[in-house]
């Protein structure tokens, strides 16, 4: 009932298209994270749901009805802005209860909701302070409180944690999830921080240059990326991506070749492509200095020390890979052997950059 649906939505500022043919289904009561680099359109998408941006083409459904022409105030949406947007001339309490007062809610009800929000967000004692007298974390909680008292079925958050320091962020993240578990709103959350996205979201919608790249559970987004961008964006250090060709059962990278297992060969044949991108995450890139058959050979060029692990940069005939390992770390100049773990690799169609799929089992 309180779902959100984008149908072929396009948004342009004059000639500048910022959202291109967006089709996105957000389920009722789920926590959906809009993730992506700056400028990818995630905030614009969020603001379209709020009615703060016009939709150029296409339809936006909320709860089954088309809301393109419905004003923000009538969509029953609660929103937390990146800079909190508190009213600087009002006290914390007035900030929280302002919306309720304007709509002449029963004073007892206003009191109840306001007190509850102040309590839940640990703002007791701060009711009569003005925003300028509060710390960043406190202001953020006031912004949350203001959104929460509305009891809206839709809850939108625009990078709500990006102005907080690391420690506070952890705490605030947990609070958000708690709020959601209490009220079950349809929650749409914008962030550029992957870790936040993975921990908060039931599903992640990854966007890039106004185009939806992939929408799926954090696990799938991580382990089964739908395209090259997703593979490279999610995870740190980024996924190794190399140009590859499949020919006569062999996977060929930079002139070297290994045998590709049957499951993958089937996928390649299904997709009818021979030029591909090969991908594997650094933490699954197992290398060894011991001679290995059916493996790629490379020279170590550079080593990074992460404290608990090492990043080993090695080149396979000029193509660079990173391997993250914590023991048996090779030294610069050494020859290493890289036999890919085929349950962990990704293969993408070279032309479309889309994943060719994953073998069963």
């Amino acid at each position: 009932m309180y779902d959100i649906k984008f149908q072929n939505v396009m948004k342009a500022y004059g000639k500048n298209v910022v959202i291109n043919n967006l089709n996105l289904d957000i389920k009722e009561s789920e926590r959906l994270v809009l993730l992506g680099p700056s400028g990818c359109g995630k905030t614009t998408t969020l603001r379209m749901i709020a009615g703060l941006e016009e939709i150029t083409e296409g339809k936006l459904y909320m709860g089954g009805r088309v809301v393109n022409n419905v004003s923000s105030g009538e969509r029953n949406v609660a929103m937390v802005f990146q800079n909190y947007a508190l009213f600087p001339h009002m006290t914390v309490e007035d900030n929280i209860s302002y919306g309720l007062k304007v709509h002449k809610l029963d004073p007892a009800e206003i009191r109840k909701r306001t007190d509850h929000a102040i309590d839940m967000l640990d703002l007791k004692g701060l009711e009569n302070r003005k925003p300028k007298e509060l710390s960043g974390g406190q202001r953020q909680r006031v912004a949350l409180a203001r959104a929460v008292v509305k009891r809206s079925p839709y809850f939108l958050l625009d990078e709500p944690l990006s102005n907080l320091d690391a420690q506070l962020r952890l705490h605030a993240r947990k609070e958000l999830v708690k709020i959601h578990e209490m009220y079950h709103q349809t929650l749409v959350y914008v962030t550029h921080d992957q870790v936040e996205a993975m921990t908060v979201g039931n599903r992640i919608a990854l966007m890039y240059q106004g185009v939806l790249q992939m929408i799926d559970t954090p696990s799938n987004v991580y382990n089964r990326p739908a395209n090259v961008f997703t593979a490279k964006f999610i995870g740190s250090p980024p996924t190794n991506i190399a140009e590859a060709i499949v020919n006569e059962g062999k996977l060929i990278i930079s002139g070297q070749n290994v045998s590709l297992p049957e499951g993958w060969l089937k996928k390649v044949k299904e997709n009818n492509c021979d030029k591909l991108y090969f991908g594997i995450r650094p933490e699954y890139t197992r290398i060894t200095t011991n001679y290995t058959e059916n493996a790629f050979t490379g020279i170590v060029k550079y080593i990074e020390d992460y404290g608990n692990k090492f990043g080993v940069y090695f080149e396979v005939n000029g193509t660079e890979f990173i391997s993250v390992c914590d023991e048996n770390v090779p030294v610069k100049g050494e020859t290493v052997y890289f036999a890919p773990d085929y349950s962990k690799i990704y293969l993408f169609n070279h032309e479309s950059t889309k994943s060719i799929g994953y073998p069963e089992g």
Binding site: A50, G51, S72, V77, A85, F87, P88, H89
Partner: protein, 301 residues
């Protein structure tokens, strides 16, 4: 303060600083501060600017001023001027700035440039133009009125109405400047705060009263004050050009009256007393503004 480590340099700095402000300060000293003192002095005398000696009368000028019923008529007129000027040049630009900045969002530049245009034109010219336009017999407004079966009153001779018309003429020049300033103030209000209110379905007029106006209050106070202080001085020109304070002092205000007392009736003592009282009123306004700006400055920084 510029980074200087030597004491000597600091001293030289201080000296150079004084030197740099000296020319301005001299001009102020000769034509502003000393005259201010002199006017206060003159307010205790009776003098017609020609006689070689002045007659000391103590507070007589002030007493006479407050005992003269005409004074109250003039003060009343001043209040009416202030009210009309505030409506046309404080409330109107503020509301329109809100409309332009938050409701329409487009066309800022064009409107700004057109509204400001009359501000660069002399009010003497403005008075001439409006004398013709509002001419009750042969002006275009009168012609249109006649077509609608109405006749325009002879406003320059009707008490009350004359105040309105002279305020209108003055506002023609003042509106543009005030609009620019209020627009800047309103535009400076956090867009997101307004959006937050819109999401709460707060009606526009409440967004203006509860959010935009308080958040731009520093600008608001500034415009409020200059509308009164400068507006009243600007009205001097149309009064002098068109009605010379008439009919029967119905269009005179405190500023014009001071002028008239000095240069038409040659009663410098009376004029000076009037001027001082006017200035005291303005000073009270200044003090009020300072208090408000202390509070208001946070929002705009």
């Amino acid at each position: 303060m510029l980074i200087t480590k030597k004491q000597e340099r600091n001293k030289r700095n201080g000296l150079l600083g004084y030197l740099l402000i000296l020319p301005s300060f001299l001009a102020f000293a000769v034509f502003m501060f000393w005259p201010l003192l002199r006017t206060i002095y003159l307010s205790f005398f009776e003098w017609n600017m020609i006689k070689p000696y002045k007659k000391f009368v103590g507070f007589a000028n002030y007493v006479e001023m407050f005992q003269n019923p005409q004074t109250y008529k003039i003060m009343g007129n001043t209040m009416v001027y202030i009210l009309i000027l505030l409506v046309l040049n404080f409330i109107a630009p503020y509301v329109l700035s809100f409309v332009l900045s938050i409701i329409i969002k487009k066309g800022h530049n064009i409107y700004k440039r057109i509204f400001f245009l009359p501000s660069v034109i002399s009010l003497v010219v403005g008075s001439m133009l409006y004398l013709w336009i509002l001419n009750p017999v042969s002006g275009p407004i009168a012609v249109i009125a006649k077509m609608l079966g109405q006749t325009l009153p002879v406003w320059s001779k009707s008490e009350g109405l004359v105040l309105v018309v002279l305020s209108l003429i003055t506002s023609w020049k003042v509106f543009g400047y005030n609009f620019i300033v209020t627009l800047a103030g309103v535009s400076g209000v956090s867009k997101e705060a307004v959006e937050a209110a819109r999401l709460d379905n707060v009606p526009m007029w409440r967004i203006f009263m509860d959010i935009v106006f308080p958040m731009s209050s520093a600008t608001g106070i500034y415009v409020f004050i200059i509308t009164i202080v400068q507006g009243l001085q600007y009205v001097f020109t149309p009064i002098k050009v068109i009605t010379q304070g008439g009919p029967n002092f119905a269009s005179s205000n405190m500023i014009y009256n001071s002028y008239q007392e000095a240069f038409t009736y040659f009663r410098t003592g009376s004029s000076s007393a009037f001027s001082i009282v006017t200035m005291v009123l303005f000073t009270i306004l200044l003090v009020l503004e300072f208090k408000f700006v202390e509070k208001g400055v946070y929002y705009e920084n």
